[in-house]
């Protein structure tokens, strides 16, 4: 009985440690996200105010971005440290490997009749469209767009 009690307590303690670790990790992740988001918003607001007075000013500069990211560095180091510790100690959330509870399980597995015919038709249509696209210049459009940095597409604006 005593041994069972010790095993239970050890198990509970390790569960508590694991839970504490995960909660700490959660807090660090949320804090890091908040810090980085709010820094960007602050930089934008300050930069816009500066730009309103002098249109030649830039909203973001490498210097003010570096200044804004500096406070996040210690938090990021804590995050990285926790990751390494988690890897070394083998901390894992095994809940994700457990089956889902409470979800409506309705496994209605059906097979599509004659999928091979449909697959063949789609492949043929795809190849025809690709050839048509190459001949009408569509492939070149893809190249032109891909070799030019679309500033708006990557958020540079």
């Amino acid at each position: 009985m005593f041994l069972l009690f010790i095993a239970h307590e050890t198990g509970t303690r390790s569960m508590t440690k694991k839970k504490t670790f995960m909660i700490l990790q959660t807090i660090v992740c949320i804090l890091l996200t908040l810090m980085l988001s709010l820094s960007a918003v602050r930089l934008y607001r300050e930069g816009t105010a500066r730009k309103a007075q002098n249109p030649l000013e830039s909203i973001y500069t490498p210097e003010n971005v570096a200044d804004a990211l500096a406070p996040a560095v210690p938090l990021f180091l804590i995050f990285a440290g926790l990751q390494i510790a988690g890897l070394v100690l083998g901390v894992k959330n095994e809940d994700s490997e457990q089956p889902a509870r409470g979800s409506r399980i309705r496994c209605e597995q059906t097979a599509l009749k004659r999928p091979a015919l449909l697959q063949a038709v789609i492949v043929v249509v795809a190849v025809i469209l690709i050839i048509a696209g190459i001949s009408n210049g569509g492939a070149r459009d893809v190249l032109v767009k891909a070799v030019t940095i679309c500033s708006e597409c990557i958020g540079l604006g």
Partner: protein
């Protein structure tokens, strides 16, 4: 010792990468094989970008070697008015029918990033009816941002607007923006950042945070590419297949699956194959048509009730042989795959001739309008190379054809030029010269040798003064403070734009393209400025040689008054202004032809006005 080895084994078992993880890493590396781009800060511009990669990978990522299928689809839809997007639709059909959402589970780099984020040990949000409902959101995003908005803007306003890329895509922000901004060589890009970047940065962080707590949040709730591939999931050639004769509908597969599936292989299934290990009926496998690629690992022999000892041993013996054969086969496959990867890395980073050609020119095989009527002719320094192409030559020859800053200036004031400075003189200077001449003519004192020498000296000085206003001794270059090298371009209206002739006026050069939405949006600002300050302002709007739609046709009904031209096939003007291929780019020169502003990024009317006055006042 035994306890330690048991612990080590379990740690290894827990953290050993699975085959799927290795395939994902391999695929991510293959998608971004242009490793040189991460160092140089420039994107790959070779011919491999004619093709779309199957996974979600921004084509503005410095390492990307193929085009993003989703970005290409949006651009194709935006160009529907000019050209049907058959090519991209055909590619998506091909990917969909061959692989479907197997791409999501095995090949997509963004899927890999999401799964790695999910490994961070935190409490997790399990799937539920709410997540099932949320999984339909990606179809809404597909319909609105990927299809409707680009189509509408393209057809109604002739404006290419990839709405998903512009407003939502976290891959563009992470791989494209951060990938470029992290490189010190791209420090000039910071000036482009504004509200769009702020918004997308926050969206990227929120999605990243969601992926930590909720398995593949982007994949399940937002990704339009997953939505497209999901439509093919029931009949894709390579993917998870269920033997319906063996299946007993126990639902273990669905319960263990972390995606919002209702059955294996439906539109939410990413074909990862995790359900194979929990199916006791061995009904699930990964197949390519009728060929089985991956069988379940569930060892039936050890758990089968009623089997006698000899049957069990026979079964386990044959299974050992199977395992050995499988192991040998997988080693061969991995060996081939690694060889392919090494060859790809070598090709894209070292051997690809289209990349090397692209470093200096963007020659197109069938450019219909680019540069055919325009010639880049430098003033007074034209010479021909052995190949016969025109090369700009100034005081000292360089690879790019103009003098580097810090060496002798490129614009040499010869005696001939001095005599021809009347074309650069402004009215006050002409008056000054006339006054000096009339004063000397009205003098009644006899002209001695010394007096005539002094008179000629003062005449020379006044001429020199007038020349100083429009002539610069700054080194030739494209940085602020340098003097821009002379060039001549033929405009669409047939007139020639000669940079040297714009001395005495502020000059604005803008690089734009028909496939660049912010470029098109800011053209009216340039037009307004040009109309307002036409007397003191020279302007030239230049399209790169890489042309999709005819720029002249595009501009025909716009009513812009400023001169437009297309760069030469060698993109010579692009090199003169230090272009990086990122558009738009604006260059402002003062009256002496010295660069006062040279940046990539959109301009506002207020900024343009300020730049004009800044360049004007620099000289006054």
């Amino acid at each position: 010792m035994a306890d330690t080895s048991r612990q080590n084994t379990s740690w290894q078992q827990a953290f050993r990468p699975t085959t799927r993880r290795l395939v994902q890493l391999y695929s991510a590396l293959l998608h971004n094989a242009y490793l040189k781009g991460f160092i140089s800060g420039e994107i790959y511009k070779g011919n491999a970008k004619y093709t779309c990669v199957p996974g979600f990978n921004c084509y503005s990522c410095p390492g990307a070697v193929g085009a993003c299928p989703l970005g290409s689809l949006q651009n194709a839809l935006a160009s529907t008015g000019h050209r049907a997007g058959w090519y991209v639709i055909g590619i998506l059909l091909l990917f969909g029918v061959t692989l479907g959402r197997t791409i999501c589970g095995w090949l997509c780099p963004l899927g890999l990033i999401q799964e790695l984020l999910h490994k961070i040990p935190t409490p997790k949000i399990r799937k539920s009816s709410i997540t099932r409902i949320l999984s339909w959101l990606k179809y809404v995003i597909l319909a609105v941002f990927v299809i409707a908005i680009p189509l509408w803007y393209g057809l109604s306003q002739n404006l290419p607007l990839p709405a998903f890329c512009k407003y939502i895509c976290p891959a563009g922000t992470f791989e494209g923006a951060v990938g470029h901004l992290a490189n010190p060589a791209n420090a000039s890009m910071y000036s482009m950042l504004g509200i769009l970047f702020t918004r997308k940065w926050v969206i990227m962080l929120v999605i990243g945070l969601a992926c930590i707590f909720c398995y593949r949040s982007f994949c399940r709730f937002i990704c339009p590419l997953g939505a497209i591939y999901g439509l093919f999931n029931r009949f894709n050639i390579i993917g998870v297949k269920v033997d319906t004769e063996r299946c007993n509908h126990c639902g273990a597969c669905v319960r263990h699956c972390e995606m919002d599936v209702k059955c294996v292989g439906d539109h939410e299934c990413i074909n990862c194959g995790k359900c194979m290990d929990v199916c006791k009926q061995e009904a699930i496998s990964i197949k390519a048509g009728s060929i089985t690629l991956k069988e379940p690992l569930y060892v039936k022999g050890s758990r089968h009730k009623g089997a006698n000892h000899s049957e069990k041993s026979t079964r386990s013996g044959s299974m050992d042989a199977d395992l050995k054969q499988t192991s040998r086969r997988s080693r061969i496959i991995w060996g081939i795959a690694l060889a392919v990867l090494c060859a790809a890395l070598l090709w894209f980073n070292v051997l690809d001739p289209s990349v090397n050609r692209s470093d200096h020119s963007m020659k197109t095989s069938d450019s219909s309008t680019g540069g055919k009527d325009s010639a880049l002719i430098p003033a007074e320094h034209e010479s021909e190379t052995e190949s016969g192409s025109t090369e700009i030559k100034t005081g000292s020859e360089t690879e790019s054809g103009y003098t580097e800053s810090g060496t002798e200036p490129g614009y040499v004031v010869s005696e001939t030029d001095m005599g021809n400075t009347s074309s650069y003189e402004t009215e006050p200077e002409t008056e000054l010269k006339a006054e000096t001449e009339s004063e000397s003519a009205m003098e009644s004192k006899p002209a001695t040798e010394s007096e005539s020498a002094m008179e000629s000296k003062s005449a020379m000085e006044s001429e020199k003064q007038s020349a100083d206003i429009t002539e610069s001794m700054a080194p030739v270059g494209h940085e602020v403070g340098n003097q821009l090298a002379d060039f001549t371009l033929t405009c669409y209206d047939g007139s020639k734009f000669h940079l040297a002739e714009t001395r005495g006026k502020v000059t604005i050069i803008n690089l734009w393209a028909t496939y660049c939405t912010p470029c098109i949006k800011e053209l009216p600002y340039f037009n307004d400025l040009y109309l307002e300050y036409k007397d003191d302002l020279a302007m030239l709007i230049v399209h790169p040689s890489l042309v999709t739609d005819d720029p002249e046709e595009f501009l025909a009904d716009k009513g812009y008054k400023m001169p437009f031209a297309t760069d030469t096939d060698e993109d010579t003007l692009n090199k003169i202004v230090g272009g990086t291929g990122t558009l738009p780019q604006t260059i402002v020169l003062n009256k002496k032809g010295e660069v006062t502003y040279n940046k990539i990024g959109s301009v506002t009317p207020q900024l343009l006005e300020a730049l004009y006055h800044d360049a004007l006042s620099e000289h006054d």
